[in-house]
Symmetry: D2
């Protein structure tokens, strides 16, 4: 397929490379142009509009502000050569997903929310878990692209925002798992057991899953750099989850604890470290930070 890709961050580059590798023709655009260059099989283009055309356009940007700047304020939907479908794969707010759905509807461009679970190396390998919601026909049309990028596409109906809600709920669970490990390690260390020795048991038995293994290893080693998933981004996702929770009338006390902990982490200089550094908050609170 002929696909335009907007946003060549670490995730976007991996996904675009994978698409090219699987035989798709990829035009890529990025705000700072150098990031769009040198990806095997991917053609860099000079404007977002040149990427927002073809059989499909894919956007993978850092946050609401970036996506709004490019798509809404950038007037992409007013252009002539609009794509047959827009796959919005960024982790954005439920509210923006609703707004984008309305805007695309008026412009006659099918919009699919399709955020993903997986880090850049998983993206390169085409093994992402893709959470998709939007018009069935549009998702069906984009299936070759989704199949190229993902191990599996999980479908959540025709209302795009639902995919974003699922993504935010998943990231909430991830941050909650880190906090739980952080508190548990502070607790066992208070009783003479190294956090790593405790987590070794947990992450090899009843909690033997990727999230616990990966973040548990970082917490055990107190190794938070270079960041895989930056703490500031995690804080943003919890903020988005709390906003969407309020809209839906859902109290989330765990998410509130996470919010306070992440703010504390950032106020102590850990914003640019890995999200696993949230565990340092628990250590500091017991006087051993």
């Amino acid at each position: 397929m002929d696909v335009g890709f907007i946003g060549m961050g670490r995730m976007g580059r991996g996904m675009a490379a994978r698409l090219a590798q699987e035989g798709h023709r990829v035009r890529a655009w990025n705000r700072s142009p150098e990031a769009a260059q040198g990806i095997p099989g991917v053609t860099a283009v000079g404007t977002a509009a040149e990427a927002f055309t073809g059989d499909a356009a894919i956007s993978m940007l850092a946050d609401d502000a970036a996506l709004e700047a490019v798509v809404v304020q950038g007037g992409l939907l007013d252009g002539a050569g609009r794509p047959a479908v827009h796959l919005g794969m960024s982790t954005i707010s439920v509210a923006l997903a609703e707004r984008l759905t309305a805007i695309h509807g008026r412009a006659g461009v099918p919009y699919v929310s399709a955020p993903v679970f997986g880090r850049p190396d998983v993206a390169e390998a085409g093994k992402l878990n893709i959470v998709a919601a939007g018009p069935d026909a549009a998702i069906a049309a984009a299936a070759p692209l989704l199949d190229a990028m993902g191990a599996k596409t999980w479908r959540y109906g025709e209302e795009p925002k639902r995919a974003n809600a699922v993504k935010l709920a998943g990231n909430f669970m991830l941050v909650a798992a880190i906090e739980a490990m952080g508190e548990a390690c502070a607790f066992t260390e208070g009783h003479g057991v190294k956090g790593g020795d405790f987590l070794d048991l947990m992450t090899n038995t009843i909690f033997a899953s990727p999230v616990y293994k990966n973040y548990g290893a970082a917490i055990a080693a107190r190794r938070y750099e270079p960041p895989g998933f930056g703490l500031r981004l995690g804080a943003k996702d919890i903020r988005l989850a709390l906003q969407a929770a309020e809209t839906a009338g859902v109290p989330m006390p765990f998410a509130s604890v996470l919010r306070d902990g992440l703010i504390e982490a950032m106020s102590h200089g850990d914003a640019d470290k890995d999200l696993a550094a949230l565990a340092e908050v628990s250590a500091r609170r017991r006087g051993k930070g």
Copy 2:
């Protein structure tokens, strides 16, 4: 080996049966005597003292009060035919473990804390994860028993209470996982996505571990009876964790949220349901309980 077993609850019965099956001679005692009968290869005895003798004695009782009643108030350590080692496998407080260590020390009976992870069916299969701390020689002597009951024995040094701290930290993580799923499902349902559809994704990908799969399935189906791990017992474990955290000077905001949620669950009649019923608190708080 010649072993006495005190406490024939669901876990104790499974463990005793497994020991007998592996060729050990087991004498079993239970407060209400019928529970000690009819276990293949296990001889019921009439008093706790008859079980507290031999190559090893194992205790597996419901809580601090039960263990104190039998061992301390029951004067077991004053008796003549004391065992070569006492394996305390109940989930008890760190404080009681310290007290038992001191009492056994004065009586000259080696004490090993050896709480376990695993449900009754896992106990029957001899596949428990055993968390052991105590004198090396005592643990070595008991190795044939530990090997018979467990898939693996995880060692945490010579100070028995450390094993209890590890067990409580693990149960804290378990309850935290349930709360995280409960809040996440309330959130996605507030946005039109069934909790089960959301958890299907999570528990088959980044959270694919026994805890998330088992409790996630119960939460998705809102099926909390019969209880596997009763909510009241879970509340007890969180209480013990909070007490031991205070002793060690460790704030645990997640554990505090769990405490409040479990109390709310019990005040709404769910004390005797499965721990997974904690998720109903999140549903109720959003007005859909």
Copy 3:
């Protein structure tokens, strides 16, 4: 002085009436025009621009959105007959205060943030506590107006947003007091003591202050209608406080608890009741709602 007043809600009407009573010439505008009529000594005008002129303009609107719609999108600052000073007395976000400061700066209109503590009857009596921050000269010029409306004007320097931060911090303390009373009453009632009997002691001794007396009486009687300060507005203020706290890097666990409680209250149908209805959340959680 010749003053224009934008926003004739319950607070605005009381303040405008008081100004007229004290000898000032008041032109008043409200989105729904009838609210601006029939106030002794106050002249209703047909457009916001007609009120945004003279020796001073005062705005007292419900929230950020209302103020932005009238002042920013309404283009008031582009008009010809702009006022000598704008007193922004609404309870708005710190972020909007900063934005308004910048916009007014470019337009050459001095901006003073001057939110207030006090209910409508206090406004009518001219006994408000006014929290003012902005250019000294502008506050001095507006002194006759501030003196007419308030018992005292509390000054917080030249940076307008500081007054808004103080107002939000004060409202946070107010909602926290309500929550504390709600939990305390649930606690005493759980032990057989009526909430009202308990609060009678507290609010006449160590907590003998207006906030505790007023809200305590409502909680004791479980009387939440008609609302004095609506729960939905209180929830908005906590949201604004949390946002401004995040900007400033300040964790606020009490505010997080309040946020969750207020969402729960609204999800159970209490959004339009008095803020004191937050206490019902504590009652419900213990199974007696």
Copy 4:
């Protein structure tokens, strides 16, 4: 009246002195005897039993453990010359109050729970607020003593534990007020407003009550020594409140936040400072501790 007084801490000394001043004959006992000496009009006695006799005995000890050691383990109720009534004025757990009620009942000594609000200087002035529950006849008989020590006696029925529940609920509200001020000050300081300048407004207007004025002044000055009400004691009271809340099935999220904050304060070396030092936790969490 002829009264024995057990416990000559700072509160007990003030109360005993006041009783003597009002014409009562006071025999006083303290574990470390020097504290019972040199109080005008008060006779020091050598054993608790000598104080546990007469028209009334009053106990005012630091905590559950101290009271249990003296009254229960000390066997006071087995003695011959028992008092006509025992006024238990210590701040103790609801559970111990229930146990003491049962024990006194069996011994035939009327027991009245009568904890107080007020600091040592208030005790000396005879201006305490006394919270009393117990048999009407016993309270009536003790009225001259209560009147001598207190500005007012607040009655909560015949079940002694209710007075203890009221006292714990009051102390919970007090600690919650400190936390609210601590968070609010961290918030305003994050926006450039000194905590003291903010609290000056609050504690002279809508929060003008003794608790806010006293603790607010300490927080504004960051002056936590010498302690008036020690942080460790406050932490004990929150622990007792949480225990009694659990017994009664009452979730208390604010109390849980307080528990975590107080533990954090103690882990950072503030256990022996004034309770107001809880505010330092908020400052530290924002990176300015």
